[in-house]
Amino acid sequence: MNANAPFPEVTHQRALLPEGLTLDCGAVIRPLAVAYRSYGTLNAARSNAIMVCHALTGDQYVAERQPVTGKDGWWDAIIGPGKPVDTDRFFVICANVLGGCMGSTGPREEMTDENGVPQGRPWGTDFPVVTIRDMVRAQKKLTDHLGITRLLAVIGGSMGGMQVLEWAATFPEAVFAAAPIACASHHSAQNIAFHEVGRAAIHSDPDWKQGRYWEDGRIPAQGLSVARMVAHITYLSEAALTRKFGRRLQGASALTFLEDVFQVESYLRHQGSTFVRRFDANSYLTITRAMDYFDLAHEHGSVAAAFRNTPTRFFVASFSSDWLFPTGESRALVRALNTAAARVSFIEVTTDKGHDAFLLDEPEFHRALGGFLTGAARDAGL
C-alpha cells in the first residue's frame, strides 16, 4: 500500500441541508452535509435522544465498526444495549463534525460557492475557519432535520466536551442534560502550543503543497504522522508510558541513531502511520484551529455568564493523570456552573491512563455517567 495515497472513499450516511449554515467567520456553507449515525429507536414523543460529540480525530462511528479502519466504535465501551448509554432506552446520535473528513462538509469534500454551485475540486485550505460553535450549529441543524426539539442529553469528551458546553451555552432549551468530560471552558496556551507543533509538521511536509496535495493524489503522510505522534504523547501519561514500555529496547544491540531503539518509539511511529490512513491533513489543520479558538469566557464575558440561570443539568468528570485537560480546569468549570446556579455533578476519576482514559475501561466513570443519564431520564419523565 502506498503510504502517500489518500485513504479510500466510503459512502457515509448523511443529511444534506440545502439552506446551509452561516459561520462565525461570516462565510456561508451551502449546502451543508452532516454525516451521522444513530443507534436505538426514537420514541413517539421524540424525547429520548442523546447526542454524542466526538473528539478531534474521532468520527460518527461511535458504537459500530469503523468502515475505513475496520476497528470497533470509539465509545463501544459505554454505548450499546444495557451499557451506560443504553441504546435499548435511548436514541443515540453521533455526527461527524463540520470540517471533519468522514462525510460532513469539510476540506476533503467538494467545494461549493455561496449559491451552492459545485466547483469541481475539494475545498482544501479554502475551507473557511470554523469554530466549535459552528460545529454545534451544524449538529443543531441535524436534530431539527430529525424533528427533535430537545435532546435528553449531549455528551462528549475532550473536543466533544467543548461541543457539549457550546450546546448548553448556545441552545440551553434544547439540552436537558449535559456531560462535558475531560475538557475545559477554553483551550490552554500549552494545548495551543502542542497543536501548533502538529500543524508545523504538516506545513513542513513537501507533499502538503500549501494544502493543494489533492491535485496530484498524494497526502502529506510524513507531516501528518509526526503531528499525530506529538498529539498522542499528550493523550497519555508518564505513568502509562512507563507501565506500557518503560525503557525497554526494540532489539537494536549496537548504539544507533537511525532505527527505533526504544519500544515507545515504534509504538508512536505505528500510531502516526495508521492515523494517516484514516484522517485528512487539511481537516486536522481546520479542527485543531477550531479547538484553539474555543473560549467560553471570551464569548460570554465569563464562563458563569455563559450558563446564567441555565435549565440544563451537568455532569462534569475529569481524570487524575490527564495533563492535557487537568482536573483543575474541570473544577474551575464546576465552580463557574455553581456561580451560575446550575445543577451540577462532578467527580475526578483516579487513573494513570491520562487524557485517553475517557475512552477506556473506567468502571467508576461509566457508573457515574450511567447514573447521571438514568437520573436525567427519570426527571425528564421518560
Partner: protein, 211 residues
C-alpha cells in the same frame, strides 16, 4: 419535634440525618455539605421534592452519589462555598463536619451568605466523658465519639456547645432551634439548660439564620 414525624424516614438513614430531614420543609432548595453518598439528599428529593445539591470530599462517596443521579460535586467546605451566589439556597446543611474544616468561622459565614438558614451538627467536646478522661487520665480523650488519636484525627477544630453559642453571639447569628443528642442521634431532654446539654449531649444540632 414530635417523634412520630420521623416514622416515614428511610430506615437505613443515619439517625442524626433523620433529625435534619425533619427540619427541612417541602420544595426547599438545599445544599448538603459533606453529603456522603447522598442519603439525606435522596430522601428529601423523593419525600419532599427538595432541590438538593451536595458537596463531598471523599471521592468514592461522591461517585456513589453521582451514580444515583444526585447533583453532588467532589469538593470541600473550605474551598468551594465561595463560588455559590448569595441566597442560592433555603437551607445549607453541614453535618458532623464543622470540627474538621480549616476555617469553621468562615465556613459558617459562607453558609449564611449562600443560604437563608444553616443547619450545623458537631460532636460536643464538652461532654462529661471527655472532661472526665482529660481530668483523670491527663491524656487526650478517647471516647465513643472521639475515636482517633490526636496525631491522626481530622477533627482539628473541636468545640463545645457553649463555645458554639458564643460564636453565634459573636457573629450575630440568630439560633432558631438547637438540641443535644446522644451518639445514636436520639434527642436528649436538656433543652432548658445549655450547661446540662453541654455536659450530657454527645452531638449538637443547631439551626441558624442571619439576624
Amino acid at each position: 419535634m414530635p417523634d412520630d414525624a420521623i416514622q416515614y424516614v428511610a430506615k437505613n438513614m443515619r439517625l442524626d440525618l433523620r433529625l435534619i430531614a425533619e427540619m427541612i420543609p417541602q420544595d426547599a432548595r438545599m445544599l448538603d455539605i459533606g453529603c456522603g453518598d447522598g442519603a439525606l439528599m435522596a430522601h428529601l428529593a423523593a419525600e419532599k421534592r427538595v432541590d438538593a445539591r451536595g458537596i463531598e470530599i471523599d471521592m468514592q462517596a461522591a461517585t456513589e452519589a453521582v451514580a444515583q443521579g444526585l447533583a453532588v460535586i467532589h469538593g470541600d467546605a473550605d474551598n468551594d462555598l465561595a463560588f455559590y451566589p448569595d441566597g442560592a439556597f433555603d437551607y445549607v446543611v453541614l453535618s458532623r463536619t464543622l470540627q474538621a474544616v480549616e476555617r469553621p468561622r468562615e465556613v459558617l459565614r459562607q453558609m449564611l451568605r449562600i443560604g437563608r438558614h444553616a443547619i450545623v451538627s458537631f460532636p460536643n467536646f464538652g461532654h462529661w466523658e471527655v472532661r472526665w478522661k482529660l481530668l483523670l487520665g491527663g491524656r487526650m480523650p478517647d471516647t465513643e465519639t472521639w475515636t482517633r488519636p490526636w496525631y491522626e484525627t481530622p477533627n482539628i477544630h473541636p468545640c463545645t456547645i457553649l463555645d458554639f453559642f458564643a460564636l453565634a453571639e459573636l457573629e450575630g447569628y440568630a439560633i432558631e432551634r438547637w438540641l443535644a443528642v446522644d451518639e445514636r442521634g436520639l434527642k436528649a431532654p436538656w433543652t432548658r439548660s445549655v450547661r446540662l446539654a453541654n455536659l450530657f449531649g454527645q452531638q449538637a444540632l443547631f439551626q441558624l439564620r442571619r439576624k
